[in-house]
Amino acid sequence: MQQFPRRLLTVVTEAVLERELVAELEALGVRGYTITDARGKGSRGRRQSDWAQESNIRVEVVCEPALAERVAGHLRDRYYDHYAMVLFLQDVSVLRPEKF
């Protein structure tokens, strides 16, 4: 089975940013993403998922490595200073490269 290398970008951040984030991802050329509700603990304290004001989301994007870098750089510059945000990149393999 032929596999194709892509990058998986995972962003965990404040739910209040969801709409803005989605608009920016699309503007940067991301074709698809998955968003799930999340909770956990980090440097900015414990984040519950049961109340919109304080909940977190996890955004996952699979795309070309160059695009993943661009998105990651943009998010870092735009949000790291003032928002709770963690992001990381991983190598993944996909079967249908035209989708990503």
Partner: protein, 312 residues
């Protein structure tokens, strides 16, 4: 012991359970549902009453309540900035929260007045809508100035299409269109169960308030004093305006309570995106862990006395 509305005990239960870290959590979807029903119920009730008598809102009332929303943040900002010595962004954020209104507090005052058979103006939900947004705009201006890099178009859309405004105005319209007879079919859920739904809402609010308590300890005395003194002062301003506008004692109580209440839904979301450098925990803790409990337990009975004294 004064007669405490049983719904208030649900709030106390939530705070106690949350503080004791009891295994109690309402799923987010339940909170959304319960608050949706409350907002619609309040809107519908007002709409049905409006259909009964066509007491149109005088334009002076509309204008002065809008103005009240813009003006209230100014003293709140001054106190937080000059007395509390908070950073400009934090002071502006507090000002936006305290100038704007809490629909939960509104629901409690509606329930309080209903229990005591005190009538108030049917158009009161419109006051909530009028008071919600101006203070948030004023707070953003206080933080940013006129030239600031705020995405106004996006922000306005978020603010004017916020849940509480859409549901309150939607409920008002439906109640008004359906009238007293037409709305009898939806009476069981929205009117008969109002208190029970409010009790669930307050249980959840208690849990959320308890979750803020560690932050409260961190921010200390100023937030507690601010969270109690500012609402009482604002209630007096609101009651005074209500009297000048010639509202009923019930209406004065509602307007005073609205002026005293602090937003914990619309304001935090808007300020978080428009003034990101403000510490969100500070304003939210003040509004939720200090002012909301103070208003529903001590404040509302006090504001009613002020209203009666003014009207009498």
């Amino acid at each position: 012991m004064p007669q405490l509305d049983p719904v208030i005990w649900f709030f106390v239960l939530g705070v106690a359970a949350g503080a004791a870290r009891a295994d109690l959590r309402l799923p987010g979807a339940i909170y959304e549902f319960v608050s949706t029903v409350l907002l619609l119920a309040i809107g519908l009730k007002g709409g049905v009453e409006l259909a009964r008598d066509t007491g149109a809102m005088p334009i002076t009332e509309l204008g002065s309540i809008l103005l009240l929303g813009f003006v209230l943040p100014l003293p709140a900002f001054a106190i937080a900035y000059y007395v509390g010595r908070l950073a400009r962004a934090d002071a502006a954020s507090l000002a936006a929260h305290y100038g704007s209104v809490s629909v939960g507090t509104f629901a409690v005052v509606v329930s309080y007045l209903a229990t005591r058979d005190i009538a108030f103006e049917a158009r009161a939900p419109v006051w909530v809508v009028l008071l919600e947004v101006p203070a948030i705009l004023a707070g953003i201006l206080l933080a940013r100035g006129l030239s600031g890099d705020v995405a106004w178009r996006h922000l306005m859309r978020e603010l004017f299409l916020g849940r509480s405004i859409v549901l309150l105005l939607g409920g008002l319209a439906i109640g008004w269109l359906a009238g007293p007879e037409g709305s009898s079919s939806i009476q069981p859920l929205f009117f008969d169960l109002f208190k029970g739904i409010l009790a669930l809402f307050l249980l959840e609010m208690g849990l959320i308030a308890a979750a803020q308590l560690p932050t409260l300890r961190h921010h200390g005395l100023f937030i507690v004093l601010f969270g109690v003194a500012v609402p009482v002062a604002f209630a007096i301003v609101g009651a005074g305006l209500g009297q000048v506008l010639g509202l009923s004692p019930g209406g004065i109580t509602v307007l005073a309570t609205l002026a005293a209440s602090a937003s914990y839904i619309a304001a935090p979301a808007a300020i978080r995106t428009a003034v990101p450098e403000a510490n969100p925990a500070l304003s939210l803790t003040a509004a939720l862990a200090v002012t909301f409990p103070f208003n529903i337990v001590v404040g509302i009975p006090l504001y009613e006395r002020i209203a009666v004294a003014l009207a009498g």
